[in-house]
Amino acid sequence: MSDAITWKGSALVDEVERRSGTAASACFQCHKCSTGCPVGPEMDLLSSQVMRLVQLGAEAEVLGSRAIWLCASCEACTTRCPMGIDIAGVMDALRIMAVEQKAASAGARAEIFNRSFLGSVRRHGRVFELGMMAAYKLRSGDLWGDVGKFPALLGKGKIALLPKSSGATAEVRDVFRRAAEEEQRP
């Protein structure tokens, strides 16, 4: 059993609502989101539990969970929530907060994937898959996963050996810089 949750008033739920633009406080624990969640079996917290912990202000538990990184953004929860809460949007807000507060769980490989993916987009304006996968493998230490699939992918022309950059790469770099600044605005 973990320790009792420290009550932090509504600070966490307010912050999540501000970022996601959805009423996380409206959740009344019907569990419909958890019932239809495709990754429920692998999650350490079900989506309805994440929602309740957000309301309770249990920041460390939520931001350090594997659940927020296992969410596949399939939007089944958002579509089915009887209170119209954008639960997938709440997961996005929590992932962003976890990274900002350096609270992401050690098993958050999706966070490493996201960084590798966006690094590729920033450089080329588009995803260069080979470069993105190499960056992900080096950062995550998962060097051998899927390596056996490479010859088949190459043979079928599914992996480009050189990036096909967009003509708008300078524009994209500016957009990345200004989007980062935008997130710092009060």
């Binding site: 970022r19 495709p38 990754v39 079996p41 692998e42 990184w69 296992l70 596949a72 953004s73 399939c74 939007e75 089944a76 958002t78 579509t79 954008d86 997961m91 996005d92 992932r95 962003i96 990274v99 490989r109 999706a110 490493i112 994937f113 996201n114 960084r115 993916f117 966006l118 987009v121 304006g125 588009r126 995803v127 898959e129 996968m133 992900y136 995550s140 996963g145 899927d146 699939k149 088949a152 992918l153 079928k156 022309g157 599914k158 992996i159 480009a160 096909k164 967009s166 003509g167 708008a168 524009e171 994209v172 500016d174 957009v175 990345f176 200004r178 989007a179 980062a180 935008e182 997130e183």
Partner: protein
């Protein structure tokens, strides 16, 4: 009919056959496509999971480029489709979001460029009757599971294509080719999407569920409208079988490839060689032998 075409990153690499078959089918049906010059990545899941401003600005850049062409935007990737429509939805009625996009991209954008999926264009703009009239090689006897995945169906107020729990437009298109579209319960269940890289065990489990249910419902192949669905069900089929029990080999085609075959296009024109689980034997058995030989 003319659209500004947004291919997206996957259609230039892992899903080149989706790009090729989309272009071939549109050409055959007199749907004109003009590529958006210098399009950029839509940001996909990594952007909306990392930076809310970036998740608006990257799609907005493309929508601004489409605006300059003066055409509605058409895309084939279900994920790009959802990201572009989500950006429009968030920008359209929110002054703060509009101002933010203007500060980041340096240009005004009102969130009103129309975003269409190729399935929507085929079924709703061209129409099933027109498609039926162009079928030269009906795929009679072929039993297909129409798989929509997540992002063509959800959330309904954003993608606005069909019913979120029981969509039928892809089934209708499959039936227009002369094939049978089986009734099955997992047509909008998730395949695990980009978790393939980071949580391959999840994708094996979900893939096995989808493939075995499609088979149980009597399907011989699956048609998809998303590069991630295709890859997770096709390339990763052996992983699913290894982890969760044997599966019969099940070809997973893009719906544009299936439609192209019915329209009389060749396997080569439709990029069928890109499939990991070959569809040749299946299609040869079903009277589409000419297609697999490469001659229409």
């Amino acid at each position: 009919m003319k659209y500004a075409f947004f291919p997206g990153c996957s259609l230039e690499s892992t899903a080149w056959d989706f790009a090729q078959s989309t272009r071939a089918v549109c050409a055959a049906l007199d749907i004109e496509l003009e590529d958006i010059p210098d399009w950029v990545c839509c940001g996909s899941t990594p952007a909306h999971a990392s930076n809310a401003s970036l998740a608006l600005a990257l799609p907005a850049m493309n929508l601004q480029k489409a605006r300059r062409l003066g055409l509605p935007l058409m895309t084939a990737c279900a994920s790009c489709y959802a990201r572009l429509r989500t950006a429009n939805y968030k920008i359209r009625d929110d002054d703060a979001a509009r101002q933010r996009v203007q500060r980041i991209t340096g240009a005004a954008y009102d969130g009103r460029v129309e975003v269409r999926h190729v399935l929507d264009v085929l079924v709703n703009d061209l129409g099933l009757a027109a498609i039926r009239a162009r079928v030269r090689r009906p795929l009679e006897g072929l039993r297909v599971a129409s798989y929509y995945g997540c992002l063509l169906a959800r959330p309904p107020e954003i993608v606005a294509l069909d019913d979120p729990e029981h969509p039928t437009c892809l089934d209708d298109l499959v039936m227009a080719t002369g094939a049978e579209s089986v009734t099955w319960p997992y047509k909008t269940e998730c395949c695990g999407a980009s978790l393939a890289m980071t949580e391959s065990g999840v994708v094996s489990r979900l893939g096995h569920r989808l493939l075995s249910m499609a088979r149980q419902a009597g399907a011989e192949c699956i048609v998809v409208a998303c590069p991630l669905c295709q890859m997770n069900l096709d390339l990763r089929q052996p992983d699913a079988a290894k982890a969760h029990g044997p599966l019969p080999q099940t070809p997973v085609l893009y719906f544009t490839q299936l439609l192209g075959l019915a329209l009389g296009l060749s396997a080569k024109e439709l990029g069928l060689r890109a499939l990991s689980v070959s569809a040749d034997a299946l299609l040869a058995d079903r009277g589409a032998a000419a297609a697999t030989k490469g001659t229409p």
